[in-house]
């Protein structure tokens, strides 16, 4: 189809100036005056669960969910069963990814054999087999000496090491952010310092080795500040934040359902806002209210405070944070429909990511161009890759949609946004010039209607 009159945001400058933008094949002309056309997004951080946890997600369902979210490239994390720590598995995963004909699927391989944190995986061979980065995500590499070796080796393999920066002794058996809300709910907390300490260690090692460090899902103001200073010193480090850490706070665990930008009341400082509470110690006047202890709000790193959310946006604005990555963590209901403390960590977020980000932009918390960059050229730079010029995404920024289990193509329905109406959605996505998701053209809309009626 050919989309005419749409606004184009192209941080890489690759879209040719023509009367209309061709997305996929076909010659249907679409009036795009309310639409945005952007390069396909790259997700540096998603859990596609295959092999081992196919009840939660498969490479195919994950690759199609990614496409719905505007991600034409998705990096699969290796915490599968077995973990992706061998060249054969990497190759197999990439092959399944391309067979799925959804988003392009890239493989991030484990840093250590079996993700056990004891000995290095064969990083050079893994890179040769197609691994684009290394990570033991889900947990940090606790052994500093081993992590230093990983950074040195990854340097040779020319790949970044993506670290889940968290001091495991300090975060202990915590299930949410340690703070006022965890105190009230009686849930064991994970202090912000557990992330700050691990980031400090990782930065020291990156400085010393010159290895390419990528910090996954930063969630605290202190950690972002450390990265800001390290970058100023010239340390080779990149960082990502997730949409949920940009939109939600720990008050969601207590049942609050106001986005960070809805919680702000002019003239009130953070602590004042905390004290101005309703009878239940909940912030008054925010309206939206859900159930407390909803395991869909349980995620690692945990949802943090208002100040941390603001720091994540500030990090994006000044380039301290290079990328927004979803940390899409789908789970089958058996792992979430249990007591909060027993539930698995993770939010299924790849299909709601853009809507959350656009919400923040609409509230004036961020800049649209910067968000698009953090979804495209930012992550491309982390991987040392160029953007594919024929991966394109069409966004309807005014389209309102309700998040429901049926609406999500991911097998993971574990998001606290279920039931919520969001604004802004991807309506078409093309990968390598092929239109793979289409809710825009006449034919595509008919297809969607049929799919919906099934």
């Amino acid at each position: 189809m050919i989309i005419q009159g749409a606004r184009r945001i192209d941080p890489a400058g690759g879209i040719a100036e023509t009367a209309g933008v061709r997305v996929g094949a076909g010659s249907e002309r679409i009036d795009g005056t309310r639409l945005l056309i952007v390069p396909g997004f790259i997700d540096l951080h998603a859990h596609l669960r295959e092999p081992g946890f196919e009840d939660s997600e498969t490479i195919a369902t994950g690759a199609h969910a990614a496409l719905r979210g505007g991600f034409t490239t998705v990096c699969a994390m290796p915490n599968t069963e077995p973990p992706v720590d061998s060249p054969g598995l990497v190759a197999q995963l990439v092959a399944r990814g391309s067979a799925a004909r959804g988003a392009r699927v890239l493989s991030i391989a484990a840093i250590t054999r079996g993700r056990r944190g004891r000995e290095l995986a064969d990083l050079v061979e893994l890179a040769a087999a197609g691994a684009v980065a290394f990570s033991d995500d889900g947990a940090a590499v606790d052994d500093a000496r081993l992590f230093r070796s990983a950074l040195e080796y990854a340097h040779v393999a020319r790949r970044p090491v993506s670290e889940h920066a968290q001091d495991s002794a300090l975060s202990g058996r915590g299930v949410m952010h340690e703070g006022e809300v965890s105190a009230r709910l009686g849930l064991p907390g994970m202090p912000a310092a557990s992330e700050e300490m691990a980031v400090a260690r990782d930065l020291a090692l990156a400085r010393e080795t010159g290895g390419r460090l990528h910090l996954a899902h930063l969630s605290t103001a202190a950690a972002i500040d450390l990265v800001r200073r390290a970058k100023a010193e010239g340390v080779r480090v990149t960082a990502e934040v997730t949409p949920h850490h940009l939109a939600l706070t720990d008050s969601w665990v207590a049942g609050d359902r106001a986005f960070a930008w809805e919680r702000q009341r002019p003239g009130l400082r953070d602590d004042t806002a905390r004290t101005a509470t309703g009878a239940g110690g909940m912030p008054a006047g925010t309206g939206a209210q859900g159930e407390p202890y909803d395991s869909a709000t349980k995620v690692n790193p945990p949802l943090r405070t208002d100040a941390d959310v603001r720091a994540c946006w500030a990090g994006l604005a000044d380039g301290t944070v290079d990328a927004v990555a979803t940390d899409h963590a789908p789970h089958a209901s058996v792992r979430k429909d249990v007591e909060f403390q027993e539930a698995a960590f993770g939010i299924s977020g790849i299909e709601t990511a853009l809507s959350l980000l656009l919400g923040g932009v609409a509230a004036g918390w961020g800049d649209l161009d910067r968000i698009v960059a953090a979804l495209t050229v930012g992550p491309a730079r982390v991987l040392g890759r160029a953007l594919a010029s024929d991966d394109l995404v069409v966004i309807d920024p005014a389209l309102e949609w309700k998040v429901t289990s049926d609406e999500l193509v991911s097998r993971g329905k574990n998001t606290p946004l279920i039931g919520r109406t969001l604004r802004g959605r991807v309506v078409a996505a093309a990968v390598g010039g092929e239109l793979r998701y289409d809710a825009l053209s006449a034919r595509g809309q008919r297809g969607q209607a049929t799919a919906g009626a099934r």
């Binding site: 703070g179 009230r184 009686g186």
Partner: protein, 318 residues
């Protein structure tokens, strides 16, 4: 009394108004009257079934609820289990479905996981009373402590109550705070910093509680003290150096009780580690309301069972 009872469940008192709390306390008066009769029984819950689902060991609270339900002529069923649901290979969801199928009117539950009663209440048609969930809440304990303190001190407005001990892991402390603060009490927390929620230690408390690590200073001029049970495994977890040191530093002794206002009472939710968090002389002394708490506990639980089953405030049929 203008308050109207509208609650379907009693999960925590964290969102209760002063009027609602006072309504339950007033109802408790009526229940104590029933308990003082020669035949301690009222027909209010005849034909109703109360299921006691205790997924964590408890004798006192379970027996208290059982007595309360029987005093109101309810049928009582016990569904006890020990160990976590994971160990047993039975999920809470499965248990909820069973409870639903059993068709009880009221489920009284104790569970090791904070928030578990919310999970059950969301999925089951019966009214749910939380009899203690993890570190989170023990609303009937909070209400019975409020009742006991109100009976001893009168109006709690402006009264200063010290809660000493392992606040971090204590559902009793949380429910005491949630119940006493709306009644106007001011709360001072004391105990080792490692056993305080970090936010409350550094002044970030939605309830306006104050932390004073020095128990002597905390008790100076206080109107009452609630002593929390110290679990011995806290020492094994490295949260305190020794029980001996704890007893010296935060144990409630007669000398410390003397720092409070004349006649100020001492409470303890039980079971006690005498000689650790409380001196036996204090526990069994004239200031102790510990046995009174046990009696009041039955009456408070009767009041809640009665209100949840649709009874009208302050009229218990004879």
């Amino acid at each position: 009394m203008t308050a109207v009872w509208r609650r379907r469940h009693v999960l925590a008192t964290d969102d209760w108004s002063r009027d609602e709390i006072e309504l339950v306390l007033d109802q408790t008066d009526a229940m104590l009257e029933v308990l003082s009769r020669p035949i301690r029984r009222a027909p209010a819950l005849r034909g109703k079934t109360v299921i006691l689902f205790f997924a964590e060991a408890s004798t006192r609270t379970r027996v208290s609820f059982e007595l309360a339900a029987k005093a109101l002529s309810a049928d009582v069923v016990n569904v006890s289990s020990s160990g976590s649901s994971v160990e047993k290979g039975e999920s809470l969801l499965d248990t909820v479905r069973t409870l639903g199928a059993l068709g009880g009117d009221i489920v009284v539950m104790r569970h090791a996981a904070s928030g578990a009663p919310y999970f059950v209440a969301r999925r089951c048609s019966a009214a749910v009373i939380n009899a203690g969930d993890g570190w989170h809440a023990h609303p009937t304990q909070g209400l019975l402590d409020a009742y006991t303190l109100r009976a001893a001190l009168g109006d709690l407005a402006g009264k200063r109550v010290v809660i000493v001990g392992d606040v971090l892991h204590s559902r009793v402390a949380r429910s005491d705070i949630d119940t006493l603060v709306p009644l106007g009490a001011r709360i001072t927390l004391s105990g080792p910093p490692t056993l305080m929620p970090s936010a409350w230690r550094c002044g970030m408390s939605a309830r306006g509680t104050v932390y004073e690590p020095d128990l002597d200073r905390a008790l100076d001029g206080a109107d009452a003290v609630i002593t929390l049970r110290l679990q011995r495994e806290r020492q094994e977890a490295g949260l305190l150096p020794s029980l001996r040191e704890y007893a010296r530093t935060w144990g409630v002794t007669q000398a410390r009780v003397a720092r409070m206002r004349l006649g100020a009472p001492v409470l303890h939710p039980g079971p006690m580690n005498e000689g650790v968090e409380i001196d036996p002389a204090v526990a069994h002394g004239s200031r102790s309301l510990i046995e009174r708490q046990v009696t009041n506990g039955v009456a408070v639980r009767m009041a809640l069972l009665y209100l949840l089953s649709g009874g009208h405030p302050a009229e218990v049929a004879a």
